[in-house]
Amino acid sequence: MSKNHKTPGFADWLLKIFCREDYREEVRGDLQEVFDWRVEKQGLFIARFRYCLDTLSAIRFYRPVAEGQQRSHGLLLSFFKSAFRNFRRHWGYASLNLLGLGLCIAMALLIMQHVSDESNYDRFSQAESIYRVENDYVRFGETIYESAMTFSGVAPAMLKEIPEVDEAARLYNIEEDWGGANILSTRLDDEKTYRESATYFADKAITGLFDLNLLAGTNKLDEPNTMLITAELARKYFGSTEAAVGETLHLNTVRLSRELIVTGVIELPDFNMQVDLSALVSYPTLYTLENGLEYFNNNWGNYSFLTYVKLKEGVAPQAIEDKMAGLSLRYKQGYNEKDESGNYLRVNTYTLSPIADIHLQSQYQNEVGKTGDYVSVQVLTMIAVFILVIAWVNYVNLSTARALDRAKEVGLRKVFGAQKRELVAQFFTEAFLLNAMGLLMGLLIVVLVQPAYNVFIGKELSMVSISRMEYGVTGGLVFLGGTLISGLYPAFVISRYRSVDVFKGKVKSGRGTAGLSLRRSLVIFQLLITSLLIIGTYAISEQLDFMHRRDLGFDKQRVLVLESPTVRNSANREERSAGIRLFKEQVRSIAGVEAVGTSTEIPGKGILRGIAISPVAHDEDKMRAVERVLVDDYFLSILNVNFLAGQNFEPGRTYGTVPLVLNESAAEDLGFSDPQTAIGQIIYEFNREPREVIGVIADYHHESLNRVKDPMYFVRNDAFDAYYAIRLKTGDVTEVVAQVEEAFTEIFPGNPPGYFFLDSFFDGQYRQDELNGRVFAVFALMAVLVACLGLYGLSAFAAMQRAKEVGVRKVLGASIPDLFVLFFKEVFVLVLLAFVIGLPLSYFGVDQWLSGFAYRMEIGWVLFALPLLIVVLVTVLATAQQIIRVSVMNPVKSLRYE
């Protein structure tokens, strides 16, 4: 066996606490060996389980700290003893309680892992003073774009003009800006060539801002043609960190092809980073291009540069934002025009966002890297709290239900001289013990289900995620607080009984007593949360279903999409077109291919740059921002979009003016009320270049249903091939893909092919929603389970309490169905009450969530009726056994000893 398997960390922690120090090394070594052996023999799951048992059993090595002190804890020890005796005697209640607590704590921990991981982004050591500069552009009062990135000239201008700015660094990715993959390759004997999307041109200051530590070599990002790579990349290309330093990597992009010297290897910080970095190329490399210094250091037009600034201590970002307005006016040419009332016609505004907030809060359409969902994180935190509350509610419910049972014990203890204070302490000890056991059990459950949970939510989570200080403290406080409240209430209720009353039989569980009504409201609360969760789950799944089912306006099935090559033999437009034509012909001749077309945009990916077009030449007022797509003659027919008027470009035909196709919203925007009237009209691109409209298509969903359909237009152009869309015939796909790849590498050598299927690519946009749906479903299920435990315990108690009443009723002639009605009616009242309260709440919540979608399902009555049915069914199932038992019991049994 070469490698040690990883043991569950929580169990190791347990061991550390339980096992005496002088045994620890021996025991840990032995445990590791046994664990590895079990993994081989019985599999990981059983091995983990047995490992936990082993560590628990190591409690036998526990040695109390000092031996002389025990006398003063005599009373406490007796509390412990009587608590354990009680658990053993009423193990049914105790285990119901324990199971409920354990499950709830486990769930809350799992949720908190996820939440903590989501908020653990960009926690750089100077994160408080690092901001990202973002950029909005408003023209004639209309927002043209809102961008997460800004111009290349902003960072140097800020450093120069605003003294409060301490440091600034840009990140620039050619792949994001110009398309075409970033390709890195070695020129060693065994050449390695990979697509490396996370390759950024970076200013030297970035390593300081982002806490990127050098593992080897030096940071020379201020010199052209150097680069830093991550340790991971160093291993991939050169085998090790040390071997990479001083080596050369060849970078190919659509704009630049260079030999770069690896001057250092960096280590990424151990928290998550919103921007994925794997290679940093020195920013001055860009200056060596033609017009490079002008374009990449003083450009105020292309907003493709991620810009991070560090402000001096105590400087408010608003102050910088205000200064930026003036700065922009001075640096950006031609933006000084004002309208009659003295407002600027074109306005660039800059926003400084705290870097740690970007991952969860950014709403930019051109956001790079990973974004999370702030609302879902908040909702999940709320669910975690609710689930804990449910657990404690269960505890309070079950223990107050047993209050009567224990009234005699209390009475007797009081007769023997127990103070009320001591009784409270006794019951509280019990609560604390049970909670502590629940916590242990919860941790055990987490350890056991962790691998499955990770697969389920598609993340690498562990208890380490929530071991951060702030969570440890909050978690501990919440747990202690919960224990205190849930423990103290029953303790006070029970110890209140006066012994004389108890023995005289005055204490009764009648209807309307405080205990019962409290219990009822708690049950209502539980059912309320349960039904909210069920409705939420159902709503998410229905909306997802709605989105999957909806007609998108194009056909995404069986379309293979290939990304364009980066390295081409010639920059010459004629030769490039010839290469594209050759490749298309080759692909078309493959047996399983029906058609192939090119396009600059692909459904499922947002179009960033709108182009202004206008129905009248040289008239700025009539200009409209419309998304432009360059397509060849086949692309639109491969998507199988619906033509409302006119037709698609005819292959081979030469048109007098360059032809274009509008979508319906674009036609409307330009003032054509009927698609038919647009045909044959001349449209001016950038308000000067004439194009003839030859067709109008119905709007299709270019992006997920969260977004509205934007006005778009398609210009015929077969020299741009950002994407090849290949429609496949039915049959074996893998064979066709292999042949397409082969043709690609033959015609475009030096390019590793990158491809995907349109349907899965498009559906990938719903991944976050699907994840939310699944997480909701699991936790709803668990909440139902725990609520069931509570209901079962409560019904068992009620049945026992009312056995005599049932006996009397039966003697007086009540039939079994009568009794069923009597009991179930009470349960139903609770369910209905919970639901009546829950209905508006859930309606509001669902409506809020749906408002994030541009296309949403109708909220119908079924959405609430089905969950109601489920809750009713579940409550009936949970209570039925006890109710039936007591109803069919022979009255002799319950009335015998009166």
Partner: protein, 105 residues
Amino acid sequence: MNHTLGALEEVIILLVLRERESYGAELVKLYVEHMKKEITLPAVVMVLKRLEKKGMLKSRTGEPSAERGGRRKVLYQATELGYQTAEEAIKAKTQIWDMVPKFSK
């Protein structure tokens, strides 16, 4: 001095004798193989410590090894006393067993 052996102690000391020298993890594996049931490691270690206290085993600390994550193992060997006690216990049992009439249905 207490010179009796409990049931688990007996099995463990026999396994140690069989191996001449052994340690916790190995004993767990042997126990599972021979007795066909699971046992937790701390139970085994506890017995080893008890036997050592009774003077029936002696221990020495071994070298750290990679398969134990770089931790040292503690190796146990039976003492003379251990050997004799085990022998007596087994002998006594075999004597009784020899006197048991054949079991017929």
